[in-house]
Amino acid sequence: MVRRDQVALLSGRMGLAFLSPALIFIILFLLFPFLWVVVISFTDRTLLGASAVSPEFVGLKNYLALFNPERWMRRGEFGYSLYLTLIFVASCVAGQMGLGITLSLLFFHREGVLKEVMYTLVTLAWILPEAAMAFTWSAFFDRDAGTLNTILGWFGLGPYDWLLDYPLLSIIIFNIWRGTAFSMLLMSAALGSIRPSYIETAMVAGASPWQRFRDIMFPLVRPQFLTGIVLITLWTFNVFSPFLLTQGGPAFQTEIVAIHTYRVAFRFYEFGRGSAIAVVVMLVNLLLASVYLLSQRRQGVRFR
C-alpha cells in the first residue's frame, strides 16, 4: 500500500522547474539588490566619469557624511529628513489607525448602501493610481480655487496656501487619505470575528458603548491592531508618493527619507551616498519586519 500523501503529483525535477523562474526573479530583483546596495555604500560610485567605471572603496566615508554631527540636522540633510519622516510616520499611523477603527466601528454589524458607498470610496482612495490622485489633491489644496479653501471659506476661515505654508501637514493628510483603507479592512475583519455573544452579554450587563469597546472588543482585536501599526509604519516609512505632491519642497520641508534618497542618488547621482542612506532605511525596515514576525509568532499564528 502506498500512503495517499506519498503519491507525488509533481516529480521533484518538475517541481524545481516550476519554481525556478520565480527563484530567478526573486534572487535577481530582491536578494541581489539587498546585498549589492551594502557593497555600493562603501564606494564612491557615481553615474558617469572615472568613479562609474572603477569605483573606489572609501570605507565608512559615506556613513560618516550622513551622520556628521555638524551638518546632518540642517535642512536637506539626512538627519533632518529622518526627523521629518518621524513626524510623518507617527502622524500617518495615528491618523490611519484612528480613522480605520472609527470607520469599522461606525459600520460594525451594519449592512446597507451607506456602508457599501463608504467602503468603496475609502478603498478607491487606496487603489487608484497615485500620480492622478496627487494631481487631484493639488487641485483640492489650491489656494484660490481649491475645494478645501472654498469649504473653509464658508466658515470664514482661510484661504490658506496649503502646499506652501503647511507642506508637511498637507502630505500627512494626503497619505492618511490614501492609506486608511488598509486599517479599515483589517479592523473590520478583526471586529467581525468577535463572537456576537460576548457583546450581547456585555449589553445585557448594561455596559455602555465605550465600556463595551474598551473592555470587550478592543482587547479581542489587540493583536490585529498591533499588526496594523507595525505594517503601516513599515509601509509609510518607505512611501514615495508625497514626492508627486511637493517634490520634497518647499525648501526641503517635506523631504522625507524616501525623497531624500531619490534626490541624493538621482539628482546628484551620488550612488555611494544614496546607497548608504538606503542601507540605513533597510536596517530600519528589517527591524520593523522582525518586530512583525516576532509578534505574529508570539500570537501563535501558524505561518500559513
Partner: protein, 276 residues
C-alpha cells in the same frame, strides 16, 4: 430619556459618517467634474454644458496617447502576464512538492519584499538594469515590477491552489494522463479564478506605479501614463488644466473598472492583508 439618547446617537452617527465621507469623497469630486468642463479651473464647478472636447484634445496629443494606450499597456500587461505565469507555476509547485519549511519561506519572502522596496532598492535596481543594458526599455520596467510583485502574487495564488482537491489529479494520473495533460485539463481550469485575481492585482499595481518607470526610463516615448501625468503638471510650464483633468480621468478609468469588476465578481477580499 431612552428615546432622546437614541435620537442623539443616530444624529451623531450620521454627522460622523458625513464628515468622514466628505473627507474621502471631496478630493475626488474635481476629477469627475473638471474633465467635462470647457474652461475647467482647479475648482469644482458643474459644467453648464458638459463637453467631451477636453478628451478630444487629449487624443490629439501624441505623447499623451502613446503613454496611455501603448506604454502603460505594454508595461502593465507585460508585468501582469509574467507575474501571473511565474507565480502560478511556483504556487502549484509549492503546494504539490514536499518541501520542508515552505510556509515560512513564502511568509518571509513577502516581508522581504516589503524591506527591499522601491525606495530602499532604487540605487541597486537602477545599476542592475543599467548593467544589463535595459535602461530606457519596457523589458527592464516589466522585470523589476515582476520581481517586486512575485512574493505576494505567490502568496495569493497559494490560497487558491491549496483549496484544490488532490483526488482529481490523482485519478487523472491513474487514468494515464501525462503531467502536461493534467496541468492543462485538470489544474488550469480550477485555478483560473486565482490567476484572474493575481492578474488584476498585478495590472493595477503596475498601472499606478510611478517610481520605477520614473527612474528606469529616459525618453518621453517610453513613459507610461503615470510619468506622463506627472510631467504634464510639473514640467509643462503653465499646465493646461482641462487637458490634464481629462487625461487623469482616462488614466484612472481602467483601475476603477477593474476594481468594480473584481468587487462584483469575487468580492474585494483581503488577501493576507498585503498590498505592495
Amino acid at each position: 430619556m431612552r428615546l432622546v439618547r437614541y435620537v442623539l446617537a443616530r444624529i451623531g452617527f450620521y454627522v460622523l459618517v458625513a464628515v468622514v465621507g466628505s473627507f474621502f469623497a471631496l478630493p475626488l469630486l474635481w476629477l469627475f467634474t473638471a474633465p467635462f468642463h470647457p474652461q475647467a479651473t482647479l475648482s469644482v464647478q458643474l459644467p453648464a454644458q458638459p463637453t467631451l472636447a477636453n478628451f478630444a484634445a487629449v487624443f490629439r496629443n501624441t505623447f499623451a496617447v502613446r503613454a496611455l494606450l501603448q506604454n502603460s499597456v505594454i508595461q502593465a500587461g507585460g508585468a501582469m502576464v509574467a507575474t501571473t505565469l511565474v507565480a502560478s507555476l511556483a504556487a502549484y509547485a509549492l503546494a504539490r512538492v514536499r518541501l520542508p519549511g515552505r510556509d515560512v519561506l513564502v511568509y518571509v519572502l513577502i516581508l522581504f519584499s516589503s524591506v527591499v522596496t522601491g525606495t530602499a532598492a532604487m540605487v541597486p535596481i537602477f545599476l542592475l538594469i543599467y548593467n544589463l543594458g535595459l535602461i530606457d526599455s519596457h523589458l527592464g520596467v516589466i522585470m523589476v515590477f515582476t520581481g517586486g510583485l512575485l512574493p505576494t502574487a505567490i502568496f495569493i495564488m497559494r490560497d487558491f491552489v491549496a483549496g484544490l482537491p488532490r483526488s482529481l489529479e490523482e485519478s487523472a494520473m491513474v487514468a494515464g494522463a501525462g503531467s502536461w495533460q493534467i496541468l492543462r485539463q485538470i489544474v488550469l481550469p480550477q485555478v483560473r479564478p486565482g490567476m484572474m485575481v493575481v492578474a488584476v492585482w498585478a495590472f493595477v499595481n503596475v498601472w499606478g506605479g510611478f517610481l520605477i518607470p520614473f527612474i528606469l526610463l529616459r525618453s518621453p516615448d517610453k513613459m507610461p501614463a503615470s510619468a506622463a501625468t506627472y510631467s504634464f503638471y510639473t514640467e509643462a510650464g503653465t499646465p493646461v488644466i482641462t487637458l490634464i483633468a481629462a487625461y487623469a480621468l482616462l488614466y484612472v478609468i481602467p483601475a476603477l473598472a477593474l476594481y468594480l469588476f473584481v468587487n462584483w465578481r469575487y468580492g474585494f477580499k483581503f488577501f493576507g492583508g498585503i498590498k505592495s
